[in-house]
Amino acid sequence: MVARTTVDWDALATRARVARRSRAVVLYAFLIAVSLPIILPYFWLVTIAFSARTGVADTAVLWRSMAVVIPTVVALWLAAALAQSRRQLWMGLTAVAAIAAVAFALLVGPDLHLGNFIFLWEPDFASVVRSRIGEVKGAVQFPNVWHAFGNSILIAGAQTTIVVTVASLAAYYLSRFQFPGRSSMLRSLLVLHAFPVLTLIVPMFLMLYWIGLLDTLSGVIIVLVAFELPFAIFIMKGFFDAVPWDIEMSALTDGASRRQAFVSVVLPQVRNGILAIAVFTFIRGWEEYIFVFTFLIRNSNWTMSLYMYWVRDDVMGVDYGVVSAVGVFYLVPSLILYMGAQRYLMQMSIGGVKG
């Protein structure tokens, strides 16, 4: 016989409730603590870009904007924590956002202007900005920002196209076919990714110099592709591994050639994987700094990161508003890309075939 002990169910329930509550409090405190340091710099960047004026070192507007942002972030998390239903959540978030918008318009609104984005229409903005404070010479000759923008798009776009194509094909082959050296190849894929790429910068420089691709966009693209490929292949192989053999065999017996089966049946199953490596590769190329800094010299080859670097170098002491504006401009494409792909990236962990 098992001894019966009386159980105080109410006490147990209370204890569980308290534990659940305190866990939630800790979680939200943590979320607020980590989200503020991430949100604040971006928020300042944007605020400065739209409010700073040449030669004026005024930080009052930053403090005022902070007075709006910090309570907003806290309020948003609180709303998320306290909402009992989806509807309440939406209403809470909307209310917080509306109040924040009004407060922002009142406190910061009067200081906003577009003058810092002068670089978009005035290639020689450095001279213009300097002349405002009486300096007339010594400005760096900047290329048109749209040219740098185009270079960046070209590098990131070409890199993405090549990486996605090559990685998909290579990963499919690695996933489906048995050939001598397959496992050592897989192992080396990971090892390749383990080394800091910067260590190779001198040999890469020499190689590019000898094959005559130094100071060309193609040279940088080749280098970036080489460094991005191993990991992309590895990721894609995981996605292909998750696609069952059956549907491929089924396509073959249904009359498809190997290539048709790959395109019409296998590729759609790894769509999320392709999207993920495409987004990450593009952003990687977009923010690339070290290699372009080393391998690109002429200012007609500048990318956005180099443009940003030289703007900071040249105008920072004169007008940090312009520097911030360039930063915001540099940021926008990444932001758009992430927002567009976010829905698919979230599914990445699911991968493979559903149902």
Binding site: I247, G255, G355
Partner: protein, 354 residues
Amino acid sequence: MAKIEFRNVVKRFGAVEVIPDMNLVIEDGEFVALLGPSGCGKSTSLFMLAGIYLPSGGELLFDGHVVNEVEARDRNVGIVFQSYALYPHMSVRDNILFPLRFKKTPRDEALTRVKAAANLVRVEELLDRRPSELSGGQQQRVALARALVKEPQLLLLDEPLSNLDASLRLSMRTEIKSLHAQLGVTTVLVTHDQIEATTMADRIICMRAGQIEQVGTPDDLYLKPSSLFVAGFIGSPPINLVAGKAEGGTITVDGVRFPVEGASGSVTVGLRPEHLRFGNTGFAGRIAQIEPMGREILYVVETGMGALRVLEQGSSAGHSTGEEVRIGFQPENSLVFETAQQKLVAGAHVRAPI
């Protein structure tokens, strides 16, 4: 429609020989079942027929032509995979349409044929859904429709019913059988379920470790299993196999002696549970377990040679566990196997106990 022939077909995966030497003829329009335990090479044989695996040796013939090297897409074979292998990103309509895409069928005609195939397996209401929105049985029908829409000369079914529940399995069994009767396409069904094989197929090919053990009609395999393996595989509940000694025209099993013709030495006697009867003579034992099976009752009886399964009609038999019983049998139904070779002793004939 096609007549299929395996001539000394061998299949190896690396060093592993999965199918050592397969010889088999499947007649045009026939419905055969490949029956065997898991891992015996059923799917491998099927995939060779479909053209997914290349035979490592021997010849595979369709209508007398060697097709070893013919690619899967040119064989016009419809196949339903164990997992159904529907294309998850396509609607049911596109799934069924898929085989026609590569045949350059005009769009209108293709859609008509998709409708017809969908009607045949009764999924016409589901055409706009995704496979993930279908039940297992519906997916199975869609897979069947996709296999049938190209009017294949050979239909291959790889354990198509194993993912279905018992009642659905029963109805799909009937449906597939009537589909075959209606279309007359040569059909190979792979299964490890002997009931599926015996109820659906004209002929059963019983396989074991890559070898064909016996080919025959369901009755052949049930009444005259060529080996202990087939005898043990066919029949539910499974056959009782008891050791005996044949000497000078009598078999001694557990002390009971029977006259026998044509057997000698160490033998194994196969007694089907449905042929055993409680009576006043025969093997002595004690009922250890009673399992009602609806119309019949299965008794597990402990005897001197191990447990014997006895299947009796009717529920009012009035036996209870622990009861001492004696078990007799109809001698003409018993099977005598040579223990060493595990083969049926042809012509061996047991008579009622002395």
